[in-house]
Symmetry: C2
Subunit: 211 residues, 2 copies
């Protein structure tokens, strides 16, 4: 799709579809904010209606369940905030994705959402949304691994989910659990360790100035 | 220390040091339970006194601050639950540690503590305890990396904290965030990927039956 076609689409979505698109954006934003503030408990359609100024019946007609709404909100936001990098090589794609995720986790809303996802409340709706969210995130980002296989950077039978889990997990671990800052340099060393392994000589070498 | 010496010590700790040891164990257990139920908020010395049946003044005399008490409770529990494996080779040490952590995260108390550590409340006391907890855990487990360096399995300048973070993070990520079960087979493939790298052919090969 060319830039012009995208502009035409954006124009078309303002009118006559414009109001509908604005309503959708308002409801999704209110859902995220409610989720970030209240975690799973306290998330109700009427609360989202109050925040967004959109009637609860309209919300229910459009999304059906609170689960669909939560999932739509989380996925839409993460797709906006976390576009899939395409730098032309695996290492730079992984470093770029790790940087985006780090920046996302450092925003107040990104941090609040991550904490909400880690919360202990076992609302079955949120549990289901969470599983679908991560599955969709993996499906979106697996293209990084597939392109690397196409360039013969990775073996054809590489487990794409393992690759992405090992990249994404340490970032969330630091941000949510250890609360340790994630430095640029650390991201690059982590990616190099994942690519070449701990047993590769010097793969996790500490920086000269940190010894 | 032989089994007999340990029994003698256990015997001795029942009398005359027995009461003191029992009080300590009761207070630490009550602290863990209060932390698991209430997260950081609501954790007070008087609540722990109520649960343990030990006077608040005795608790304060012994531990000084709530932070010291929390840290003592978390470290004592994790040292009991997570002894450092010493199998004679790096791969088996890493697999064994990952299995212990997985089992720990699957217990109700272990899961509750991990969730409490991930909670968003920014109680400065808990923040400090959390940082000290992870630092101590890294210091305890770095011996795995040091022994591997001694056996020439890893380069002498391996970053021990990076190695342990990359091992521990995916377990917490699955248990806390994705809520995906951690299979035996997955632990072994994860460790092999960390050791040999994504770019090693077949290092993250999916199981034949899962394709």
């Amino acid at each position: 799709m060319s830039k012009n076609e995208m502009s035409d689409q954006a124009e078309a979505s303002r009118r006559p579809g414009g109001r509908s698109a604005r309503v959708r954006a308002d409801v999704l934003r209110s859902t995220l904010e409610a989720l970030a503030e209240n975690s799973a408990s306290g998330l109700t359609v009427s609360e989202i209606a109050r925040r967004s100024g959109v009637h609860a019946t309209s919300i229910q007609r459009r999304w059906g369940t609170l689960q669909n709404l939560t999932l739509d909100a989380l996925l839409t936001y993460s797709q906006e905030q976390l576009p899939v990098p395409d730098t032309g090589n695996l290492r730079d794609d992984m470093v770029a994705l790790a940087r985006l995720i780090t920046a996302y986790l450092n925003t107040p809303l990104g941090a609040a959402l991550a904490h909400a996802m880690a919360a202990v409340e076992e609302d079955p709706q949120l549990t289901e949304s969470r599983a679908q969210f991560w599955q969709t995130r993996y499906d979106v980002t697996r293209v990084i691994v597939e392109r690397a296989i196409g360039r013969h950077e990775l073996a054809a039978d590489t487990d794409h989910q393992m690759a992405l889990e090992l990249l994404v997990a340490p970032l969330h671990f630091r941000a949510l659990l250890i609360r340790q800052p994630i430095e640029e340099d650390w991201i690059e060393r982590m990616v190099d360790t994942l690519l070449h392994g701990l047993t590769a000589p010097g793969s996790t070498r500490t920086r000269p100035d940190s010894r």
